[in-house]
């Protein structure tokens, strides 16, 4: 039979007898910089960061994506634009020509505020219609107004429209040491972030009108935006988005089976930006409406099939009528086919392409028996006037629904 008892000579668990010199503490100091234990073959990473202070303009709640783009793709400092106030808008209005489109006035007001905050590089995008000329004219106006210590990253300056030239331009203006592999990786992250911000907005607009606890949806939205603002890598973005969506779905709602549904279409900037449209979405939500706002970067820039859209509205327009015209007509038609109770069409004052869309929407409204509310926003538009019109519109569509 075996004996499992430990033998005394093994000394298990007994402390080793230490050398007397080891018992005392030792202090060592070596001159010079820390170095790895042995040579790894890697040189330390070079500092690619640019010290330019880049600022965008205010556009809906895309600021986290702009921040991510600046910090992770351009690898420069980001200066957040202060939240626009009456004073910012008034400033922009004074600096611009009278009947230039309203987004121009909002953006130049933002720029002036950003320059006051210490930004030295302003970003302007390119696109359709008057937007192509925004950057150059705004730079001219700001310089005339006495700001001279800044540069523009104006994508209209890239005449060819090729990706390679855009990259070269960013390198030239903001960061000559831009890392291309890192930039591409993080650009995809910024792309995902935009998609997430839009997906969150869509879910929010669909349900926030029926919240049980007042302000609960807004709280989750703020948490989501701050999580996006804090993101520094692609995993942060995915994680923050998933948590925010779960939190949004977990909120209790009191949604009727057949709620009043309103679709929003309109001019790119004004239809999305709450500062420009006097927070129209929230006003509708407060009335207990399910809102769908189709205009977003995802829908219009990232996942847009121009040919299919044009084909879907062949009976209303034979050619593409302008920058966002086909998009708006097609989505208004889709909404009408899905049986929304009303459509709100938003534009800024003097927006030529959207004015041209109006007769088409009038015809659509007649064909599908859907009421369409046309709203024009200027820097002067009053809150009270908008409330009255929205309430009247809501009463009308709610009554039609009961009948």
């Amino acid at each position: 039979m075996r004996n499992y008892q430990s033998q005394p000579e093994q000394g298990v668990g007994e402390p080793r007898v230490k050398d007397p010199s080891e018992e005392r503490g030792r202090i060592t100091v070596n001159e010079g910089k820390p170095r790895p234990l042995f040579f790894t073959g890697k040189r330390p990473k070079r500092d690619r960061h640019s010290r330019h202070k880049v600022s965008f303009f205010h556009f809906r709640n895309y600021e986290p994506a702009f921040k991510y783009f600046t910090e992770q793709v351009l690898d420069a400092d980001f200066v957040p634009t202060p939240t626009p106030t009456r004073a910012t808008i008034k400033r922009g209005e004074e600096m611009s020509a009278d009947y230039v489109c309203t987004p121009f006035k909002h953006i130049i007001g933002d720029y002036a505020a950003a320059l006051d905050q210490g930004a030295d590089t302003l970003v302007q995008v390119t696109g359709f219609c008057r937007l192509n000329y925004y950057g150059e004219l705004q730079e001219m106006i700001l310089r005339d107004a006495g700001y001279d210590n800044f540069q523009m990253l104006n994508f209209s300056d890239v005449a060819t429209g090729k990706v390679r030239d855009y990259v070269a331009y960013c390198k030239k203006v903001v960061n000559p040491n831009l890392s291309i592999p890192n930039g591409v990786k993080n650009l995809l992250g910024a792309y995902r972030m935009v998609e997430h911000i839009d997906a969150f907005r869509d879910r929010y607009l669909a349900n926030a009108g029926f919240e049980v606890e007042h302000g609960s949806f807004d709280r989750v939205r703020k948490e989501f935006i701050s999580a996006m603002n804090a993101a520094t890598c692609n995993a942060d973005i995915e994680d923050g988005f998933r948590r925010a969506m779960d939190a949004l779905d977990a909120l209790p709602t009191r949604k009727p089976v057949d709620p009043v549904r309103v679709a929003i279409v309109g001019e790119y900037y004004t239809a999305q930006d709450p500062n420009s449209n006097l927070d129209l979405e929230q006003k509708l939500l407060d009335m207990g409406v399910e809102v769908a706002n189709y205009m977003s970067i995802s829908n219009f820039n990232l996942h847009y099939n121009a040919k299919a859209m044009q084909a879907s509205i062949a009976e209303y327009s034979s050619y593409d009528m302008g920058p966002t015209s086909t998009f708006n007509i097609a989505y208004a038609k889709r909404a009408a086919e899905q049986g929304v109770d009303g459509i709100v069409h938003i534009k800024s004052a003097g927006c030529t392409p959207e004015i041209d869309v109006m007769p088409v929407l009038q015809r659509l409204s007649r064909d599908y028996h859907v009421p369409v509310l046309f709203l024009t926003f200027d820097t002067q538009t009053s809150d009270a006037g908008l409330d009255t019109r929205l309430e009247a519109f809501y009463d009308m569509i709610a009554m039609r629904k009961v009948r």
Binding site: Y99, T126, Y133, M140, M321, A349, T352, D356, P359, R366
Partner: protein, 333 residues
């Protein structure tokens, strides 16, 4: 781009084609007329704009439309009353990234069709689309339209060439005449030289008798010599405009700015005229006022309500100021 030659000619029954005397008629009218005459159609033009045209057009349009677009719909309505078979309304997008037209011209055919449909009237529209950035060139657009009239490829090409040449010749003759005028003016001694004023406006504003005609008449009445910024060598003006700006996207505004730069030394003052609310002008006029220095600029905006009322007074006072200035100030008058 595939052309429609050999297919069913769906426009073969169109014999009387109406061309509205508005908007880009003032730029491409000669080409359009020649083209349809070459196709064997009878071309019908309506009368020049007047107050009645505006009233009809205003009634058909959304309130916020620009004055020129309201006039356009008025002209289409006038053509419909003249029993034309179809009205020609092209959709013009542009010739390059910074050589585009205002989006209004892109939307025109659909705008007209929908505006008339909303008003409960019907109008048959024939159209073509020029969008060189996406591969729809001017030539292929005209050939495609000719094919729908049942023409062969060869006949179509001949018609297009004749149209393009006619327009080119006309533009060149206008430019030559103005150049001659400028040359003669510069030969005169400084005391005898009349006040020279440049009208810089879209052609459908400056040459429309209802809109720009009033200004031109008022200037001539004051004894000024009138030059037009759109009657110069267009390709050269377009090239010149890149000295001024690299990102103005509108070809017409570019040509106007190029002409202003070219004629700057020969003129005493500039009249910038626009139809309220003109999108391109809202930005370009601002840029011109900021950057064109050394010449007095009068900015006139004509809208659908007030029309040209008060324009004469403003033009008179502008000319007065300039002539006093020319004589060396008020004291020497």
């Amino acid at each position: 781009m595939s052309l429609d030659f050999g297919r069913r000619a769906d426009l073969a029954d169109v014999r009387r084609v109406g061309i509205p005397r508005a908007l880009l008629y003032y730029r491409y009218g000669i080409a359009w007329r020649t083209f349809f005459e070459q196709l064997g159609c009878e071309v019908v033009l309506d009368a020049p704009s007047d107050r009645g045209t505006l009233e009809v057009g205003d009634h058909l349009s959304v309130d916020e439309c620009c004055l020129a677009s309201k006039l356009f719909l008025g002209h289409v309505a006038a053509l419909v009353e003249q029993n034309v078979d179809a009205v020609f309304v092209p959709s013009l997008m542009g010739y390059g990234r910074f050589d585009t037209f205002c989006t209004k011209f892109q939307a025109l055919p659909d705008l007209a069709a929908n505006a008339f449909a909303v008003a409960g009237q019907s109008v048959r529209i024939i159209s073509l689309r020029i969008d060189e950035l996406r591969g729809e060139t001017e030539e292929s657009a005209y050939l495609g339209l000719a094919a729908r009239f049942g023409l062969s490829h060869k006949e179509a090409k001949r018609a297009y060439k004749a149209a393009a040449a006619a327009q080119r010749d006309y533009d060149a003759s206008m430019a030559r005449e103005q150049e001659k005028l400028v040359k003669n003016l510069s030969k005169l001694p400084a005391q005898e030289r009349p006040l020279t004023i440049l009208i810089a406006a879209h052609p459908y504003v400056s040459h429309d008798p209802f809109v720009g005609g009033v200004v031109e008449d008022a200037l001539r009445e004051q004894g000024a010599c009138v030059l037009f910024a759109d009657e110069t060598d267009k390709p050269r003006s377009l090239k010149r405009s890149y000295e001024f700006s690299h990102s103005i996207p509108w070809i017409v505004n570019r040509e106007l700015i190029g002409s202003i730069l070219a004629l700057h030394d020969h003129i005493d003052g500039i009249v910038l005229m626009s139809a309220y609310p003109c999108g391109p002008d809202s930005m370009c006029d601002d840029a011109i006022e900021r950057c064109i220095k050394g010449k007095p600029i009068l900015t006139l905006t004509v809208d659908a309500q007030a029309g040209t009322a008060g324009v004469e007074t403003r033009v008179e006072s502008f000319v007065d100021i300039l002539s006093y200035q020319k004589k060396g100030g008020y004291l020497n008058a």
